[in-house]
Symmetry: C2
Subunit: 360 residues, 2 copies
């Protein structure tokens, strides 16, 4: 038996019906949450590059179509299924983009991001481009009063992927104070990586093709910025080395974060590899590229990718946001869910200046 705190009995949503086809508005009865689930009244849902990939079937959704996309969700718990503590009712939450089961062998081994029973809203089931979303409650992340004092709940939606994914990548790369962190791409993901790395005490160099984004990176903690437009990798490497020297960063063991999700970005990240480098693939592209994999050996280097972020790290990310170490307000723009077509169109064309968050 679920317990309801909200009053709506329907879910209004935008559903993807076929690859490339216009999303369709849909109103469906709200199903009661199953055991362990919660119904979230959506405050905001971020539009991610991945949603665009889903629409064009560059990447296929794991659930069958029609499907409501959207995996960067914040909101309030309005209904709780059996086994979910009633204390959650009314709680402001961020919904992790990847919700592990918490029970399987992989989860118990701490490999929660690869849990094979994981639920990603907007991929495994209906997501957040909707008035409500039904998700497993176990790993919901409660937003503290302190964070809410300085933020609106809708804008915290982007914590779910744009902020936590680089956070996990930085953790896994072992970035320490004094290290050099290079971000290839200072966009929606990279700009948060820049802030997190700087807050962790690293020296940060931002690379991008867009001078405006580089300016923002410099204002957000980067110590240097390099416009990669038209630069051959050898010249770029020379320039990054020179910038690294100027800002007193180490010559080796660079931590390089590919946050552009493009082939040129990956080529750049791989090409910057030096001794003891760690390359984190944080942005996604289906494009293939040609590499000399043995460079990993010659340079004693590591490349890794991470799928989302372990929910156990979310509270720390919110703490950093509360403490002002990570700013999100300048990097989000609010749109009405009713304007879905217009906003998604602009996202597809790369015309949005900030991360768009859709608010029902």
């Amino acid at each position: 038996m679920g317990m309801a705190a909200g009053s709506e009995s329907t879910i209004n949503a935008w559903a993807m019906t076929a690859p490339g086809a216009p999303f369709e508005r849909r109103t469906a009865p709200r199903r009661p949450p199953a055991a362990g689930e919660a119904v979230i009244e959506v405050a905001g849902c971020g539009v991610c590059h991945t949603d665009v990939s889903f629409l064009h079937h560059v990447v296929k959704t794991r659930a069958e179509l029609p499907l409501v996309l959207g995996h960067e969700i914040s909101g309030r718990v309005v209904e709780a299924g059996d086994g979910v503590e009633t204390g959650w009712l009314g709680a402001p939450v961020v919904v992790p983009a990847v919700l592990p089961c918490g029970e399987c062998e992989l989860c118990r081994a701490g490999a929660r991001t690869i849990c094979r029973s994981q639920v990603m809203p907007g991929n495994d089931r209906d997501g957040g481009f909707a008035s409500h979303v039904v998700v497993p409650a176990r790993f919901l992340c409660r937003v503290s009063e302190k964070v809410l004092e300085g933020h609106e709940l809708w804008e915290l939606a982007i914590v779910s992927d744009a902020v936590t994914t680089p956070f996990q990548a930085i953790r896994r790369a072992g970035l320490a104070a004094g290290d050099l962190a290079v971000f290839v791409g200072a966009g929606g993901i990279g700009i948060h990586g820049v802030q997190i790395a700087a807050a962790a005490g690293a020296k940060v160099i931002a690379l991008d093709v867009n001078p405006a984004k580089l300016e923002v990176a410099l204002a957000s903690g980067a110590s240097a910025a390099v416009n990669v437009s038209g630069l051959a990798i050898k010249d770029l490497l020379k320039q990054v080395r020179s910038e690294a020297e100027k800002i007193g960063a180490p010559k080796h063991r660079w931590k390089i974060f590919e946050t552009s999700g493009t082939r040129p970005g990956q080529e750049t990240a791989f090409g910057l590899m030096g001794f003891g480098a760690v390359i984190a693939i944080v942005g996604f592209t289906m494009d293939r590229l040609e590499v000399r994999l043995s460079n990993l050996m010659a340079f004693d280097a590591t490349a890794f990718g991470n799928w989302g972020c372990d929910p156990v790290l979310y509270p720390e990310v919110l703490e950093w946001i509360g403490a002002g170490k990570i700013c999100i307000s300048p990097f989000v723009e609010k749109h009405l869910l009713a304007d879905f077509h217009r906003v998604f169109e602009a996202a597809q064309r790369g015309q949005l200046l900030q991360r768009a968050v859709l608010v029902p």
Copy 2:
């Protein structure tokens, strides 16, 4: 002032003089060791795939030509430079293939394999295809009486690269008891990887194109073997999955070791990537290959390479050899240094059945 225990005053060696040119026999006066150096009377020096690459300038040596190649060296200390304890005189030793300085920032941070002042005999300076070799003494690895009871000193030469490099890769991959270790290539490096992984309690699957090598792998600790000849990667993956299930190995988080040093091997290793996989590039090739680097992200996976092996791990490797966890005797064949041309020719043609060790 050096202290001499030997009597020779010359070094007989085979020097590479130009890319692709026949090695030349050379007799040179033996220079006294500098401070911190030791002169090793060579007991044996292994012929490595890397030496063949050096000869054909597929990979360039760091030191100018002419240069004596050879980096898998065992022998006895016959002379010690200033600052080297006299206790080393007469000691049977294995010379690590990569000798870090031990003093620089990288060494102090534990990143000894990327020490920028490192010395690799046969690359940075004259190596072991010689009667004697002069090397920094600091990280020489003393061979215990126990190990010498069961082994001849010459055969321990291959510890320096063929055994320690996979050992370090296995350590760095975090291989634990019960894990699945897949070796792509069961040759000179892979066969030791198979033994080490099995001794560490992992389930081991060996892949190769050579049925004879697969037989040896099965006799050396592998629980399953798959001949990859003519198999498309999808079919291979299916077969490896099925073998993994048969031997009770986990479905995810495979540790995949590329020990063939070939493009097809690297394509196989990358193609076997699954959730939480760790891919270690242990063999070297200059060949490039096309990969979807984002698979690292989709699978939450890691690829890394390691350059040689940290000398601090050598004593443990010798201990494992002493304890019979790693057999080396069946995998080496002794040749006279005087037969250099014939042996190197056979190595180039891939005609040697075992790792060739040249004995002065």
